[in-house]
């Protein structure tokens, strides 16, 4: 039964999901924009973050430690993956890049399944964020509100790095034209490595924050990968603001449609993507082509 309270609650759920999607999609979009590689292992990075955070929490009982250790672990995993494998595929055709990142995703999932099994794992929310909060017009799980705040801070940090630092300036330039960045004396391959690490860390961090909301399993990243790609397409490939807007739109579409019929949530998501592609082929905030 749809009622006003239910609708508001679903809007909040959509906001939380949208913020998470925005963070994951930010990582995916800067990786594709800069490196030109569609990273199909990005969902696996989200999953790795969840597991790394869960493991850190298990040993330390500290959610902050889980966030720090989990993020750094996934960043390291991203950097090592780029150095050992991805860099050999920059000059290869896109289909080779898709295959190798798809394969990497499978390897990460099966490695986690090998070490931790297929059973889902739960990371409890920090004690201060447990329970529910009365917002006046509705009660809402406190951790979900906290998750919204944490992801918003993470997005602000990412914004600061991208728009207020020299590294961000190089990354934004690299998204437009990595050959020109290289011609200006900047080792673009080092930039690629860092971008892949930062992009993976964004997905991993989202995985940690999401772990107390939805328990994690080795294949938790598969569904999120599809949603994230839709977000990137809606927002515009290579656009950080586009990823945020696309994430929020996707989150609300999934949540509000689920209120009426969950089976149609994906259908509506793809309808929205199709509409955007018809009206703005480069996405809401995207620009034509990349070098």
């Amino acid at each position: 039964m749809v009622n006003w309270a239910n609708f508001i609650s679903q809007c909040f759920n959509g906001l939380v999901l949208g913020a998470l999607l925005a963070l994951i999609a930010s990582g995916l979009t800067i990786i594709y924009g800069t490196l030109g590689v569609l990273n199909l292992a990005h969902g696996a990075m989200f999953m790795l973050g969840g597991y790394a955070g869960w493991l850190a929490y298990t040993y330390t009982d500290s959610f902050i430690a889980a966030m720090v250790v989990g993020s750094l672990f996934v960043m390291l995993a991203g950097v090592v993956t780029e150095r050992l494998i991805i860099r050999h595929f920059y000059a290869r055709p896109p289909e080779d890049q898709l295959l190798v990142t798809f394969g990497l995703g499978i390897v990460f999932v099966e490695l986690v399944r090998f070490f931790f099994g297929s059973l889902s794992r739960t990371t409890p929310p920090p004690a201060m964020f447990q329970g529910i909060t009365n917002l006046g017009f509705m009660v809402y799980p406190t951790y979900r509100l906290a998750a919204l705040g944490i992801v918003a801070i993470a997005l602000l940090v990412l914004y600061f790095v991208l728009y207020k630092t020299r590294l961000g300036m190089i990354v934004r330039a690299g998204i437009e034209d990595s050959v020109m960045v290289d011609s200006l004396g900047i080792d673009v391959y080092k930039v690629f490595m860092l971008v892949f690490g930062i992009g993976a860390m964004a997905a991993g961090f989202a995985g940690i924050v999401n772990a107390p909301v939805v328990s994690i399993a080795p294949d938790v990243g598969e569904a999120i990968l599809v949603q994230t790609f839709v977000v990137v397409v809606i927002g515009g490939v290579g656009s950080f603001p586009g990823a945020i807007i696309g994430g929020l739109i996707a989150g609300e579409i999934i949540s509000i449609t689920s209120m009426f019929n969950p089976a149609y949530s994906y259908v509506m998501l793809f309808v929205a993507m199709t509409l955007v592609l018809v009206l703005r082929p480069h996405g809401l905030l995207g620009t034509a082509g990349r070098e």
Partner: protein, 232 residues
């Protein structure tokens, strides 16, 4: 020893052989022009010097240091800087960010004031995004981005192409000031009058081969060469 010595350069696009044993030399403080018909290999020569196109064989020595086979960022750090034909301005960055980015890894970078003194228009537009600049302003910015790195050799690829005469005049003046100040330049340009006004020496390239080399002043007296290789 010349500042830049190129010997037996062979470059390819895929399986297509573009440059055939190209050899040239550039002395310090000299302006050398590379002229030829469309598709003769002029831009490929500059891209090969810069490392944007990797030559398969041949030698590129800058002050005796071998650069052939090095990546573009390594070539840039040794003091070579290419101003691309299509300018390749970062549209999402503003004018000042474009210049700062270019100077990040330079050993001796020009102060911004020196750049703005040479191109006052860029100072007026310093907070404008690259996409909002006119063609002439983009070309000024492309040259400024190269100069901020205080390069030993600047490679200019068609700097006057598609620009209004009044902008060409301003850019010509800036290039002449640079040449007078001792900046070593390798110039590729379709505008023959501008090329001959700027250059000390000229190479004519034809179908990827160096066909002629000589002082710019003498080329004007050899209409048969201009007719044969340039169709003018």
């Amino acid at each position: 020893m010349s500042l830049l010595e190129v010997e037996g350069l062979n470059s390819y696009y895929g399986d297509s052989h573009i440059l055939f044993d190209v050899s040239m030399r550039v002395e310090k403080n000299e302006v050398v022009a590379l002229i030829g018909r469309n598709g003769a290999g002029k831009s490929t020569t500059l891209k090969s010097l810069m490392g944007v196109v990797r030559p398969r064989t041949g030698s590129i020595r800058l002050e005796g240091e071998e650069l052939a086979g090095r990546k573009a960022h390594a070539v840039a750090r040794r003091g070579m800087q290419l101003v691309h034909e299509d300018r390749r301005i970062f549209g999402s960055l503003n004018v000042e960010e474009n210049i700062i980015l270019a100077g990040l890894t330079a050993e001796n970078r020009w102060p911004l004031d020196r750049i703005y003194e040479m191109f006052p228009r860029l100072k007026e537009r310093r907070t404008s995004r690259g996409t909002d600049l006119s063609g002439g302003e983009q070309q000024m910015l492309a040259i400024a981005r190269a100069l901020v790195r205080d390069p030993r050799v600047v490679l200019l690829d068609e700097p006057f192409e598609g620009l209004a005469p009044v902008i060409v005049r301003d850019l010509m003046r800036a290039c002449q000031d640079l040449a007078r100040a001792g900046q070593t330049i390798v110039l590729v340009e379709q505008n023959l009058a501008a090329t001959l006004a700027l250059a000390d020496r000229v190479y004519i390239i034809n179908n990827g081969h160096i066909a002629h080399e000589g002082p710019a002043s003498e080329l004007k007296k050899q209409p048969e060469l201009l007719q044969r290789y340039l169709g003018v």
